[in-house]
Symmetry: C2
DNA sequence: CTGAGCATGTAATCGGTTACATGATTCC
DNA sequence: GGAATCATGTAACCGATTACATGCTCAG
């Protein structure tokens, strides 16, 4: 029933259910919501997707003149858009999850690398994961007890779980890499 | 120093360090190794990447006639390829990790969905993660005590950690979704 | 005066997917 | 007879990134 658009389009359409916005503001909203577990499109793509949603009749465009700053275009979801969104939500039995972890690629080829360089890479990964975990925890505090963010908060927990798993994995790897006797067991 | 090719190209170049192979066999090797934590290219892309590696002088192509089955082309990494690979491994400080989780997208918009449909989606996700975990555990048993697979085994642990985190998260979400009093607390 | 924020887009390119095309062998 | 495995690729398309282009306001 729903047109076959990429998930990204429906994600943006879904965000429009939170209210009328501009492409610019959508960019910021995405950066602090679905970017963490799905995808962060370039702004040029956001503008393009919005035009496409309008072309499909899923969103309505409205131009708003502003004094003292550039004019903006506001986008609102239409009735057709709501229908398309909800049939997409029902129909689609999840394309499978994708994890793309460049550090793992280096670890995989770790035998070809300088040991210390590899260790530094893994440490960097761990630092990044810790920082992200801290940001998520801060977010969690902010939205705690905020009933309208019930579903987003469930997704936030996924982020927390993921970062914790990354940190623990990095620790395991570092433990293995830092002892001098790795590779083959003693003869 | 290393040419600016996508990570996928260097991943394939790295796999060539394991020995001369055909595009076809590379496809199978990828499916059971880097596909799990990085990316699984379509076979058409594999063939294209191999041609590109040859064009850059990173791999050498050799055609082999076969009786009773189609001829094949074998690719081997060259000295230039090894140099490029190792400088890529050293230089590049990891483009950041990407997680694309379509189920999370549904949970995020869970308020727009039928509750039971959402629960089924999450259960499906959990089932898939359990199945993947079992496959990884089987793999772990197979490669245990196999010293030349030391680095791959480290990466395998990442997969295990990730699947376990997914399973636990799904359980948390199901717990929240299955009790009738979610959303706002009692007035 | 500089840089950040507001606000929108175009053009070119590239990474990656899908569909199509071919054809032999072997196993059930 | 049909499906799976071996083996390679082309062409078309689409999703996504990058670079480029513009211009005003406000805070430091």
């Amino acid at each position: 029933m729903a047109d076959d658009l990429p998930d990204t389009s429906y994600a943006i359409l879904g965000l429009l259910t939170f209210g009328e916005t501009s492409g610019y503001d959508l960019g910021k909203l995405i950066a602090e919501s679905i970017a963490h577990f799905f995808f962060k499109p370039a702004k040029s793509q956001i503008y393009a997707e919005l035009r496409r949603l309008v072309a499909h009749g899923y969103a309505a465009e409205r131009e708003v003149a502003q004094r003292d700053r550039p004019d903006k275009r506001l986008y609102a979801i239409t009735a057709r858009g709501r229908k398309a969104l909800s049939s997409w939500l029902d129909e689609s039995s999840a394309g499978s999850e994708t994890l793309r972890c460049p550090v793992a690629l280096r670890v995989f080829f770790g035998g070809l690398m300088d040991r210390d360089t590899l260790i530094e890479e893994v440490r960097g990964h761990q630092r990044a994961a810790r920082a992200q975990l801290a940001r998520f925890q801060e977010l969690e505090r902010q939205i705690a007890g905020c009933p309208e963010l019930f579903f987003p908060s469930l997704v936030l927990r996924r982020g927390l779980a993921h970062e914790r798993a990354s940190i623990r994995w990095a620790a395991e790897v570092l433990k293995e890499l830092e002892r001098p006797d790795d590779g083959e067991p003693a003869p």
